[in-house]
């Protein structure tokens, strides 16, 4: 019944099957919205956050999701600014991922603040010295930009396209998309950095505090780099997942490998700089503030293993895999490395947000642990379900992978090859 909305020539599962697919996600979303509603109506006492764990699961989620969503800006940057044409195959998907990640993060943030009705105060009375102000402004602007970038994808829907106004606007907008890609790159650059700076500037939290350049702590740059590194990996991972779930070929292997290569390259640089940064921090920054760095890792369960896992296991290893052409050519290795890179960055964000708060600062403080409440988990799941749903609908009704149709024909051609050869 929704056939007329589905892009011509691509195969999508039946409406019933699609309904079956989205049903659990919708259920999850409803549960999550209920949880979030509780937090909004009854207040944040519904969460297990407290004065010591002022930030919890949600901030970790926001930081991670925004890092993973960096694929949108970075792919756009590579495609529209650096003209890497191969990435045209994934740009739409990357934009949807970006929209999902950023809007999801914004929704989670709206629940996370104690006074959502005052959301506009940050815009009206901004403290320009706060990293959070920068984050808020940039994310809002960038989300707007992403929405505008998403617009052509929506308007290109087969049915909507029949409206001449939509068709023409989509066309004209798409012609200017490079401007938006440029603006998006600028904005992303800053807010990814500011998210890193968010913790890096906390002089009162020597575990997170870093020195840096001018007003920007080193984490500012590390976050940009790690986000740029992991963005393509996440696009790659998502594409692979969608291919597996939909049982279709969507993207040529060259595009996937290109994503992997870019990711690997950046990841390698990131790991190098992160190592240098960690060494400087251990030997200079932290002791300078009166905190011998070794003690941070004496609080179990957070030991040095976490540092090793983050930098070596989930940083260096995937970087090497992605940089080795032979390994990269194998889907299994490629995807595993991409997944590891994503996990590595998620772990980095976890350390930045959760471990920072868990480690005591006053000598009579205790190491704190924190378990999210079901309302927090529910809200987390809502963001996840929302993402899956938006992506599913986008995949069903919009042309996320321009090569899909062609690849379908190619598959057919390969099967038909002998017959054709015999004929002509």
């Amino acid at each position: 019944m929704d056939r007329e909305f589905i892009t011509r020539g691509v195969k999508r599962c039946s409406g019933g099957k699609f309904l079956l697919w989205i049903l659990p996600w919708v259920a999850m979303l409803i549960f999550g919205l209920y949880s979030a509603g509780l937090c909004l109506v009854k207040g944040l006492n519904q969460t297990n956050m407290d004065n010591r764990f002022a930030f919890g699961l949600w901030i970790f989620l926001d930081l991670t999701v925004i890092a993973l969503g960096a694929g949108a800006f970075f792919t756009g940057f590579l495609l529209y600014i650096l003209k890497m044409k191969e990435l045209r195959a994934v740009i739409n998907s990357a934009v949807v991922i970006g929209v999902v990640c950023y809007s999801g993060a914004m929704c989670a943030l709206a629940v996370d603040v104690g006074q959502p009705l005052r959301f506009w105060f940050t815009f009206w009375y901004p403290n320009v010295h706060s990293m959070l102000t920068e984050v808020t402004f940039c994310i809002t602007c960038y989300l707007t930009v992403l929405m505008i970038e998403y617009l052509p994808i929506v308007l290109k829907n087969r049915k909507l396209r029949d409206v001449p106004e939509f068709l023409v606007f989509e066309h004209e907008l798409h012609k200017l998309i490079y401007v938006l890609a440029g603006v998006g790159t600028f904005l992303s650059f800053f807010h990814q950095g500011s998210l890193g700076g968010l913790y890096g500037v906390l002089r009162g939290r020597p575990f997170a505090f870093r020195e840096g350049l001018a007003i920007w702590p080193s984490t500012f740059f590390l976050f940009i780099l790690s986000a740029a590194a992991v963005g393509p990996s996440f696009v790659l991972l998502t594409t692979w997942l969608v291919e597996k779930i939909s049982k279709k070929r969507l993207v040529r292997p060259e595009a996937m490998q290109m994503l992997g290569r870019i990711s690997g390259l950046l990841l390698a640089v990131y790991v190098l700089l992160k190592t240098i940064d960690t060494l400087v921090w251990i030997n200079r920054t932290s002791p300078g503030n009166g905190f011998p760095a070794a003690q941070y890792y004496a609080w179990h369960p957070f030991g040095t293993w976490i540092l090793f896992t983050e930098i070596a296991l989930l940083g260096m290893v995937p970087a090497l895999i992605l940089l080795t052409p032979k390994l990269r050519a194998r889907t299994g290795w490629l995807v595993s490395a991409a997944a590891m890179a994503c996990c590595g960055v998620a772990l980095n964000r976890f350390v930045q947000t959760v471990q920072t708060l868990a480690v005591p600062t006053l000598s009579f403080d205790k190491f704190m642990t924190y378990t999210p409440s079901w309302q927090e988990v529910g809200t987390f799941l809502a963001v996840l379900a929302y993402g899956v749903l938006v992506y599913s609908f986008s995949f069903r009704y919009f042309q996320l992978f321009p090569d899909e149709r062609e690849l379908k024909l190619e598959v057919a051609q390969v099967e038909e090859e002998p017959a054709l050869v015999g004929r002509y």
């Binding site: 006074q115 009705l117 005052r118 506009w120 105060f121």
Partner: protein, 609 residues
């Protein structure tokens, strides 16, 4: 004209665009934000003229002087009165929140005075020989206490009961002390008048002998961690060095430590020995150290009208035969020492005793009484406060009513006087007049911080001053005379083998209870939750801390619920394992339930719930 969907959309679009050019949406957004400043549920403090009023705190026997900051007459915060000779401008945490007690959620608001009176009448008529009508007065020495004593004197078989007076009724003169040995007394944590203790603190060396590091021990000049229950042995050994070896064994200290301590007490006098449980051995030690007359003094009596002198004597509960009290009035409108209900209950006749409790909350004896009549609570009530234990001088001060008590509150002295058929009169004013007649002492008024000799004040002005916050201070102490019960309670010689009290743990109740909450009142302001719920400064009421080994031995794992059992009964408590509590001890934050089953000398056991 035909309307299409497109037109409607356009109309709506135009509406939205137009609305943006009006104040409406912006105003709604800002109004919503402002609404969040005062949304429903956020109370608005009342405004009005701000005045200072004075009273005396009735929440513990210290009776600290209080300056109440009032807004339109309503007290909104309390503070000490600077310059007050005894309380020195200090108030404790309980006292600072006293003005909130009238609004306590567990405040008792209704009672049945007529039914209670009828039941009392009936029971008094039935009262046979060997049975008695008794008043239990938790805060003896007040004008109301005298009314009770007069009433009980007027009633055949009338008995006036009060908790045993600390230190045998003597007063402490901390200002004279150079060395203070405290056998577990919470000297710096709720003992006496905080302001007076802290003012004197600089002048004496404090040695705290206590099994665990209490707040006092933490701040003492020297802390002697002794074994639980060995205080008496230590006191004996200090008095009689011959027993030092056995005391060393009992306390866990070295003999040298004990002998050094004994030397110090004599060398650096005047010394004072205090004990948590008011040990007779401590009194004897004081006697031996020559503290009597120096750091321990007999406080002159506060004058009473001559007409009152025909009054029933003060007796302790233990002195009354079991199953003999037919009618019992309990006045707990003013908090005082708590006697476990179990100790009281066995004194009641078996068939239908009538117990009438006067209380502001049901959390005290009211739970056990047939009738609980609601009373005013500080700072609603009007009552005088007997002299504090650390006041060497006689004092008279009134806890003035700062807030009008709600309707329907019972006046215990009027009720009891009526039951006994006497006229309560205006006892407070009568006593004030008697004091004025004595012509002794000075009056310290709070608003101006001035002391005036009593003879320069007219009776009316004296009464007026007392009602506006003032303390009458009697003259210097009288020479020590042996008074009621002294001879029995100060042992001259004790059997050498016997620290009489609790050196060895009994099997039934192996744990020694130490109270951590100063002034174990039945209920305190809800704001006290700052100390035990919003922070971990103190344990929550009805909680106990014990060593993990002790907990394990009692079958308790981790922080959990458990049952506390003493000779008087059992109740549910929360337990917290804490290594700083020595094994064999239970650090208890008293709540109503625990108070009910714990006497002054308590051994207990804990079992998993």
């Amino acid at each position: 004209m035909q309307r299409t969907r497109r037109d409607i959309l356009l109309f709506m679009g135009g509406g939205a665009a137009g609305a943006m050019l009006t104040p409406a949406p912006w105003r709604l957004v800002t109004d919503a934000a402002i609404w969040s400043e005062n949304w429903p549920g956020i109370p608005r403090p009342a405004r009005g003229e701000i005045t200072a009023r004075y009273t005396n705190c009735a929440l513990c026997p210290a009776g600290c002087a209080v300056r109440a900051r009032c807004v339109a007459g309503q007290p909104v915060s309390l503070a000490g009165v600077a310059g007050n000779p005894l309380s020195q401008g200090a108030l404790c945490a309980f006292g600072l929140t006293g003005h909130q007690l009238p609004y306590h959620p567990q405040r008792l608001k209704q009672g049945t005075p007529e039914e209670a009176a009828a039941a009392v009448r009936g029971a008094m008529a039935k009262c046979g020989a060997g049975e008695s009508v008794a008043v239990l007065d938790l805060a003896p020495g007040r004008a109301a206490s005298w009314t009770y004593r007069r009433a009980m004197a007027a009633v055949a078989n009338g008995v006036y009961l009060a908790p045993p007076p600390p230190l045998g009724g003597a007063a402490v003169n901390l200002a004279k002390a150079r060395t203070v040995l405290s056998l577990g007394a919470p000297l710096l944590d709720g003992w006496g008048t905080p302001g007076n203790v802290h003012a004197a603190r600089a002048n004496f060396r404090l040695i705290q002998a206590e099994p665990w590091e209490s707040r006092t021990a933490a701040l003492a000049d020297e802390w002697l961690p002794i074994r639980p229950g060995s205080e008496a042995a230590l006191a004996l050994a200090l008095k009689d060095p011959k027993t030092a070896p056995s005391a060393a064994q009992a306390t866990g200290l070295t003999e040298k430590q004990i002998l050094d301590l004994a030397n110090e007490l004599t060398a650096n006098g005047p010394a004072l020995v205090l004990s948590a449980d008011d040990l007779p051995e401590a009194l004897a030690l004081n006697h031996a150290l020559g503290a009597w007359g120096q750091t321990l003094v007999a406080r002159p009596e506060v004058p009473v009208p001559d007409a009152w002198k025909k009054a029933a004597p003060e007796r302790v509960v233990a002195s009354v035969p079991d199953n003999s009290i037919r009618v019992l009035f309990i006045d707990e409108s003013v908090p005082g020492s708590h006697i476990p209900w179990g100790a009281i209950e066995k004194k009641l006749v078996r068939d239908n005793p009538v117990v009438v409790a006067f209380a502001w909350t049901l959390e005290g004896y009211g739970r056990h009484a047939q009738f609980t009549l609601p009373t005013a609570v500080y700072p609603e009530l009007t009552s005088d406060i007997p002299p504090a234990i650390d006041s060497p001088a006689a004092t008279f001060r009134i806890s003035v009513s700062l807030v009008a008590p709600p309707a329907g509150m019972a006046d215990p002295s009027a009720f009891i006087a009526k039951a006994a058929g006497i006229d309560a009169g205006n006892a407070l004013q009568e006593r004030a007049d008697a004091i004025h007649k004595s012509g002794r002492g000075t009056l310290f008024t709070y608003a101006d911080g001035k002391s005036t000799p009593l003879k320069d004040i007219k009776p009316d002005a004296f009464w007026k001053s007392l009602n506006e916050g003032a303390t009458w201070l009697g003259g210097a102490e009288e020479p020590l005379t042996r008074r009621r019960g002294d001879a029995e309670e100060i042992p001259g010689e004790l059997p050498s083998e016997a620290p009489r009290l609790r050196v060895s743990a009994s099997d039934t109740f192996p744990l020694l209870v130490a109270f951590t909450t100063p002034t174990p009142a039945t209920l305190s302001s809800p704001l006290m939750s700052k100390l035990y719920q919003d922070s971990d400064l103190r344990m929550a009421p009805n909680t106990a801390a014990l060593h993990p080994d002790t907990a394990r031995a009692s079958g308790i794992t981790g922080a959990s619920r458990a049952v506390l059992e003493t000779q008087y009964g059992r109740c549910a408590i929360g337990v917290i394992p804490d290594e700083s509590v020595p094994p064999g001890m239970l650090e208890v934050a008293a709540g109503p339930e625990i108070l009910d089953i714990c006497g002054a000398f308590t051994r207990a056991k804990v079992v998993a719930a």
